[in-house]
Symmetry: C2
Subunit: 389 residues, 2 copies
């Protein structure tokens, strides 16, 4: 119950999303008294979260002052940690990076080694962007495995030895002294893609097709994490050949037949030198018929799962990302074919299916966006303005 | 942007859901000034939405006055319209019926005939419960087909000739002069089951297995309707025998192999006198092995679809309702078997799967709950208190 339409945080949100640009519009939208709006806007101006930006056109009298969100009122730190490759950034409050790096740091080195490296690189980034530590408002971290979002801990992550139960959030909050949000990599990619939309839709599915297959769900305008933070785990839906055992130990998982690692394995068995997903993509781009056919079949199997999801959730947008999305038109075409054939007509009336706009930037954008949404939420603003005051 | 923690509606919600019972607790929970809370509570008391209910235990001084939601501050009308059988009620503001009827009225008679009948019966119910029309605050209607919730119109309903595009909401609002909410039958059943839970969970799936198969989704504490109001349509997920064509015209739909009509058809082909779902249930209850086996196979196929949904959404509860749910333990056991076998361990950690508690009452309870949630929402309260004032 931390804040609704009346709070400074809610007023800030109306300015940030473009719903209001003047005090008068805030009065209209919230139904608050003019004096209350003025008082709260003044406090946001004092905290430099809002700035005044000249006059608006007026039908007479003094033109009203335009209010603008100050994207430079602070910064957030963001990390998108992968199995071997990681990206880190310091970003302004619209998630645009002020400085960024990427580096090779195997997640399997364990939490102490990886997070010490992250802390060192974060300090370096703040220095590079010439940002003093007092301006740091929050941190967003993406991990390549399941995360219990409420506590910020990794939960039984299959490719992250030493991380199970590790309290990533407390460790980083102790070092950095600001709120730290931790989520899995696919959820932050979904947030990043959503954040980058010109007009964010309410119901949206992001599908990552890389070594494995996962998804992130925006439902009703919020990231849907489910009861255990396990939502979106479509890679282990059992649809495929039950004689193929997945790395998770179960038979017939979608990613065991249709993920990048599975395609590389199958093409290797056919005599090609495909070690990882990128090798499959290279073969497809070179016009290799067997590779194209393998990707097309994967697209059809993924499409069948997505058709089920479309009937169930009736989203208005599906975005396909991950390394295999770079394999070209064949994957997208086969996914679309099966989704439109197998879903009900009503549920696809508004549906668009496209590949990612952000590509490799989705994760780092989403990690920053997750931190920003938290610190600028109505409850975050209350904490923030107390501290700034 | 109609109202947040500061509004009278938000204060009422805190009392209704048991979060607060005194003015002091409202001050603590909202961060509002004591004088603001008092003023808004006074207005809710004046409108009779709250009542004072004696003193609370106190550590000294005058005991604080307990505030209670007045379930008799008004009534709602509710209708759960089925293909042939309908239920109507006038209910208090916790969805308990003050008077109720059920009747046979084929939906295929068309909107004019059916809604005229509904209006007549509504008037009779208000009379029977001795409720004056001024106390009517809202109306909730469930229809046995797709509904565009935002406009309150039926959309291409397969078993409702004459209803396509019919504006149910406007028609009834014109006659009754209060807000009218219209949704499909499975969504209101999901709402009803959710409303009846002692501790409502955030993520919940209601599955109706009757003549056909459908579902209603509560996600993040809200009914999820999707971009076109088509969410939850699991009966037409293509999983079954592709040579069996569904009544929707597509091959292999789940309900074409596993719904009550499909089982009745298959048992009829095997020489039994099964016309409708209830006949299948009767055979199962009589211990007929073929019928039990048919239901068990349906349970496994439904379970496979639910396993996919569990991996995707990670709900904490699944409730099975509809006529076929009365077929006994076999259906539930087979659904559970397949869901727990085929879903990931993390996604079933907290999952419970059970049959409906409300049974045939789910729809009418949910229709009333839908109307109540609307009229007592923060924006509904604003409208209401203006009118009452």
């Amino acid at each position: 119950m931390a804040g609704g339409s009346g709070t400074p945080g809610a007023l800030l949100k109306l300015i940030r999303d473009g719903s209001a640009t003047t005090r008068a519009e805030l009065v209209d939208l919230t139904g608050l008294a003019r004096s209350t709006v003025s008082q709260r806007v003044d406090s946001l101006l004092a905290d430099r979260l809002l700035i005044e930006a000249g006059g608006a056109p007026s039908s007479g009298g003094r033109p009203p002052t335009l209010l603008e969100f100050n994207r430079n009122a602070g910064v957030v730190l963001a990390a998108d940690l992968g199995a071997t490759h990681s990206r880190l950034a310091v970003s302004d409050l619209v998630a645009a990076p002020l400085a960024a790096i990427s580096g090779e740091k195997p997640i399997a080195d364990g939490p102490e080694a990886v997070l010490s490296w992250v802390e060192t690189e974060f300090a370096r980034l703040l220095e590079e962007a010439q940002v003093s530590e007092e301006r740091l408002l929050g941190v967003g971290i993406g991990l390549p495995g399941p995360v219990e979002f409420a506590s910020g801990r990794a939960v039984s992550p299959p490719i992250m030895p030493g991380w199970d139960g590790y309290d990533v959030r407390s460790r980083l909050e102790r070092r950095l002294g600001v709120p730290v949000l931790v989520d899995n990599d696919v959820n932050i990619m979904a947030l990043g893609e959503w954040w980058a939309m010109d007009r964010p839709v309410d119901d949206f599915l992001y599908v990552k097709i890389g070594t494995g297959i996962g998804s992130g769900l925006i439902l009703g305008g919020h990231l849907h994490r489910g009861a255990d933070g396990a939502a979106g785990d479509i890679g282990h839906i059992q649809v495929g050949d039950p004689t193929v055992v997945c790395r998770c130990g179960n038979p017939g998982c979608l990613e065991a037949s249709s993920g990048g690692a599975a395609l590389a394995r199958d093409l290797r068995a056919a005599g090609y030198d495909t070690e990882v997903t990128r090798d499959v993509v290279a073969l497809v781009r070179a016009g290799n018929a067997e590779a194209i056919q393998a990707v097309a079949e994967a697209g059809r199997r993924i499409g069948a799962v997505l058709a089920t999801i479309v009937n169930l959730l009736n989203p208005s947008e599906i975005v396909i990302g991950g390394d295999l999305a770079d394999a070209g038109a064949e994957l997208l075409a086969r996914i679309r074919e099966v989704v439109y054939r197998r879903s009900t007509a009503l549920s696809t009336r508004q549906l668009s299916i496209r590949t990612s706009e952000l590509g490799d930037d989705a994760g780092i954008t989403g990690a920053a966006a997750m931190a920003i949404e938290h610190v600028l939420s109505p409850s975050g603003i209350r904490r923030l303005t107390r501290e700034l005051a």
